[in-house]
Symmetry: C2
Subunit: 415 residues, 2 copies
């Protein structure tokens, strides 16, 4: 049982937006046991949509289409679906009532004929109710195949999948079980890891796949298993992990799975009743943003300071001017002072800091582009380390953020 | 002349990573006059790769393939390219020297046989040098068609496209001109805007396309033109903008194009010699991160405080405890005090603040989920406004951040 995802919109092809919808769809469907055969991003063009629908029907059992359901002229998905399924648009009373209701409640401009057209749907379509917007989701069957058309607005699409489309798919089909388990490692390249686990990898049973995902400063090892027997699937993965772990003990950081490193750290801090604050220089808010993206962050995250100018380091973070003059703003002692002082300022148990130069040119210090000091202060200790993350701005920011998180995780796991 | 992008990797299909490479490729190629026909994300599977290559060869003149070039067993792109082009792998001495050089300079582990295999390339391939990694880019021609295979690591892929592949394409083909111009609007939905510009839209010449891109709190209008005469392409767009602008004067914020709203604000602040600081509560670092993602942010961005706990609002931002008790932490007066005080704390010309509840449950205040106060303090004034951004956490954070940026832009444009 396979699905294909089709995302419609010129804005994706010209790179004006990043297609995050497909990643969400892939993850959500996969968790429910649905394999994704392919993701296809196509133009707002009738011929192209028809061609993609035809190919997807050949490739997959379930076709999920997002985009092109807005009320304006460049939105042609509904008309094209009618053409593909030899159908016509009819007004749906429930959708019309919902659109009118949304306008009355949230929108100041009066409802127009264009908005009313949102209630036109192919006559063969079953409606999936869009609680957050005017464009309904649509479910159309052809033979044994299911086509689901959803709006491209991410939060509308997400709620439609979770609350409407996925439950409907689950009552229509029986899916196998797919499980992934991902090991986070730190400190070794993928080829060196491959050498370490060579033997285990060559003996993997064929329902288990192993993938290497190198990213800035770490490698993730993903084990994936698929089968109709949940116990076998889960045990199969656990068995392989038991074989791999002893081989990579020195570089193993934790499991990723449902979590990001931020949620692993967050849960651990909440469990132990510890709190965190951050002083970010070159990472510019990236670390704080990662924590606060998750609900419940306020349970352990006290706050952070993006201390971009040298002045703000001395005046807000109370780093001694002498220290900065003697050692430069990118130094072990400034990083440690930032971590210690932000911890005191926010009255948190742990303080982290970054100070460095993300480039592309030298900043207020003489530090080479890519040099970053990271420090972590706890109630009884201060740890710090310097890195050279290369000469690429995005890489420096992301590598420094990831490294700070990894250092933090190692420290709180030890406690 | 059209291109197709193929991204290879199970991690994309299962949603473990978001495919940002395709957006970068789309944008970069498009700017050079190359239309993207389709983006296809496929599995690490030989049959699937062969099928995608065949289809892309039928669809497009240029095929860009990313991913699957790592040194481990799950990376099968090179072998599959050999199969597709009926070719064999041969050792490339320059690549081998480069791999050895990278290991000597940056990596502590000794070079292994696995790493040496990075120097094996199809005999028909021309090498594109990868300055930042071990996997070379490869250029293979078949008839009039060009296939370019690149590693999936974003910064390696980006540098290979910019420095190697694109210049080579430009000397091999002559591309037409493609130009986009995007108008940022704020305050009206897409259907209401469509009604306002209905007449202009219906009279667009057929080499110009108009698209509506609604996002949280704003709509972007993109005009795109394509042709072999650059002057005609550029004038065509300008002419349409002259017709549209008077119709949307009240909701027009600025041009997007090469810029994001953060870079528009940044340039304007640098021009006028003004500086900025931010106090973020519910937006959690999102606004600061947007500014610091761009090089040169230190010229106007003094820093920010993510003031997540109520304590940090009183102790670091010096918001009066009385004020919080009397009005609650999510209130006009607290938002304004945060903006005024962060401006003073960082000695910046402008201070912005956000305080609200992003959900999913009520926090330290009684504010409804979705309620956000945004305030902006300048040398002579304080502006503030309250919003209800709905009950979806991600939506609240993004809408509040975007709204704060729009309010800021309007204020600095007035000056």
């Amino acid at each position: 049982m396979q699905a294909e995802i089709i995302t419609i919109g010129d804005e994706i092809l010209i790179g004006q937006i990043v297609d995050t919808n497909s990643a969400f769809l892939g993850k959500t469907l996969n968790k429910a046991g649905i394999s994704i055969y392919q993701i296809t991003s196509i133009q707002d063009d009738e011929k192209h949509i028809l061609k993609a629908l035809k190919e997807a029907e050949e490739n997959a059992d379930i076709v999920i289409i997002t985009g092109g359901l807005g009320p304006t002229k460049d939105d042609i998905t509904k008309h094209t679906l009618c053409q593909y399924f030899n159908d016509t648009l009819v007004e749906n009373k429930e959708v019309l009532a919902h659109v009118e209701d949304l306008f009355t409640t949230y929108i100041s401009t009066p409802i127009s004929d264009i908005n009313r057209q949102q209630a036109l749907v192919p006559s063969k379509a079953k409606i999936l109710k869009n609680r957050y917007g005017t464009a309904p989701g649509m479910w159309i069957e052809k033979g044994n195949k299911v086509f689901i058309s959803l709006p491209g607005v991410p939060y509308e699409m997400k709620s439609l999948i979770r609350d409407e489309a996925l439950p409907a798919l689950q009552s229509r089909f029986k899916f196998p079980f797919i499980r992934h388990k991902t090991l986070l490692t730190n400190g070794l390249g993928e080829s060196a890891i491959a050498k370490k686990i060579e033997k285990v990898e060559s003996q993997l049973p064929n329902y288990i796949k192993l993938a290497y995902l190198p990213s800035l400063g770490s490698v993730r090892l993903r084990l994936s298993a698929k089968g109709t027997d949940l116990r076998l699937v889960e045990m199969g993965i656990e068995e392989q992990i038991k074989r791999i772990l002893p081989l990579i003990e020195d570089i193993f950081v934790g499991y990723e799975d449902e979590n990001t490193i931020e949620t692993i750290i967050g849960s651990r801090l909440i469990e132990t009743g510890k709190t965190l604050s951050i002083a970010e220089s070159c990472t510019g808010g990236q670390i704080a943003k990662g924590f606060t993206a998750n609900a419940g962050a306020s349970k352990f995250f006290k706050g952070s300071i993006v201390s971009y100018s040298t002045d703000s380091k001395t005046e807000i973070l109370k780093v001694a001017t002498d220290d900065i003059e003697a050692n430069s703003v990118v130094s072990k002692s400034v990083a440690e002072a930032m971590a210690i002082n932000v911890r005191e300022l926010f009255k948190s148990d742990i303080g982290i800091s970054t100070t460095g130069n993300a480039g592309p040119t030298k900043g207020e210090s003489d530090a080479e582009v890519g040099t970053v000091w990271i420090a972590i202060a706890t109630e009884d200790n201060v740890f710090s380390e310097v890195f050279n993350f290369s000469n690429h701005r995005e890489k420096v920011i992301m590598k420094a953020s990831n490294k700070a998180l990894e250092m933090l995780l190692k420290i709180i796991l030890k406690k």
